[in-house]
Symmetry: C2
Subunit: 220 residues, 2 copies
DNA sequence: TCTCGTCTTTGATTCAGGTCAAAAGATTAT
DNA sequence: ATAATCTTTTGACCTGAATCAAAGACGAGA
């Protein structure tokens, strides 16, 4: 969240952010097609967002954790273009978008913050496109693990251990791979001593080896 | 561009939009890493945007034409995260971002417009992720052609004929395919009488057949 | 007009990842 | 505790797209 506001301004911001909503594991915060009314700041829990082609194929477009904001996909057409599903019990701040717009007219720092959040999402998706368009299975998984552990570390968690909140199938959907390929890649990393895997628990034993897989040239 | 402004407001908007820049074919409007200062509204010409992994693999993230706005990738980090290269001689409006922010504080309709543009880009990229993660070569090419021709048609051009501004290699990069695969898919469509291709000239003979390839289920 | 360089097509072959199948672990419900 | 269900792993095999290679086609410049 942005910084550098006066106490009075913070109070206004708090008012926007006061409404909470709990979402149980497996439930949708919003679904594709739902009316767009608000952005959501994740307070706790873990989400996936996904789009579905009209013949039913699902693509996970991202995994989001505490501190991240979701829902921007709804702004263009006043209804959501993807679904956001909780992968564990979660709580979000409901931030009505009209209030956000109103307030960011008065508070340039908030305005800039909103723009940055959306731009960050564009940049993130650029990165995923690069991954999906150019990388091989093991590179994708390495990139995924490194990204996840880095974000968790930024939240005070371990930079080497994590518990995946999503299934192999969901990881595969995000990475453009089948679940068997994800599983095989995990096993391969494990055999090579790069990681330790037990179901959804993952320990990164050799982060440099992962980085090397993710980006071979840098280390040659 | 947004509508519904008073003459006075239009004048202010015109002031933002008055600065022009010409970009010759093959030149970059901005490069990855460049300082971010402005968004660009394309007045004429055709661009590609692309990101590059640090080992040099390039991913085309989009093709942009007149009326579209590019540069939003630069907002988060105050420098551009991708490059925008003109595929034909082009002219853009340079819209300094500080001016956009300033004005959109006064003009809610402009503010909303800026938000929609960014949201539209997020949604577009969601669609590309679905394409890259789930579709086979011919589906990707069909989706690409249909999208392109639809956008051209919205600009008053034919809905069945088009001249590609980009090479097979660039199409391949965008679609996550090698250029040979793009070429083969073109040939296949051509053999099947779905399109007529002569180099970069493409005529869509059977749009429904293309739509069927793009989205099989709908027609079953 | 001819040549050079670039882009495109096509063919032959290879291979990464998909598909199908089955077993082994987890997790939940009874 | 046990059964039932879901998830994950692993194996065998297949296939769509990549790779390698060569020949055409086109456009720019001499």
């Amino acid at each position: 969240m942005p910084v550098g506001f006066s106490p009075e301004e913070m109070q206004r911001i708090d008012a926007v952010v006061e409404k909470r909503r709990r979402v149980r594991q497996g439930e949708a915060l919003y679904n594709n097609g739902d009316d767009f009314t608000a952005l959501y700041a994740i307070r706790s829990g873990f989400f996936k967002t996904c789009v579905t082609s009209n013949d039913g194929r699902e693509q996970v477009t991202g995994f989001q954790m505490a501190g991240e904001v979701i829902g921007m996909d709804g702004i263009v057409n006043d209804n959501h273009n993807c679904s956001a599903v909780a992968l564990e019990d979660a709580e979000v701040c409901v931030m009505p978008f009209t209030m956000i717009e109103e307030m960011s007219r008065d508070l340039p720092a908030l305005q800039r913050h909103v723009h940055k959040i959306m731009s960050r999402e564009i940049v993130r998706e650029n990165g995923v496109m690069l991954l999906l368009g150019n990388m091989r299975a093991e590179e994708r998984l390495a990139a995924f693990l490194l990204n996840l552990v880095q974000r968790l570390h930024a939240r005070g968690l371990s930079q080497s251990e994590l518990v995946l909140r999503m299934s192999r199938d969901e990881i595969g959907s995000y990475l453009g791979l089948k679940l068997e390929t994800v599983s095989r890649s995990f096993s391969k990393f494990s055999e090579e001593g790069i990681i330790e895997v037990r179901q959804r628990y993952v320990k990164i034993l050799a982060p440099d080896a992962l980085k090397k897989i993710f980006n071979p040239q840098t280390y040659v």
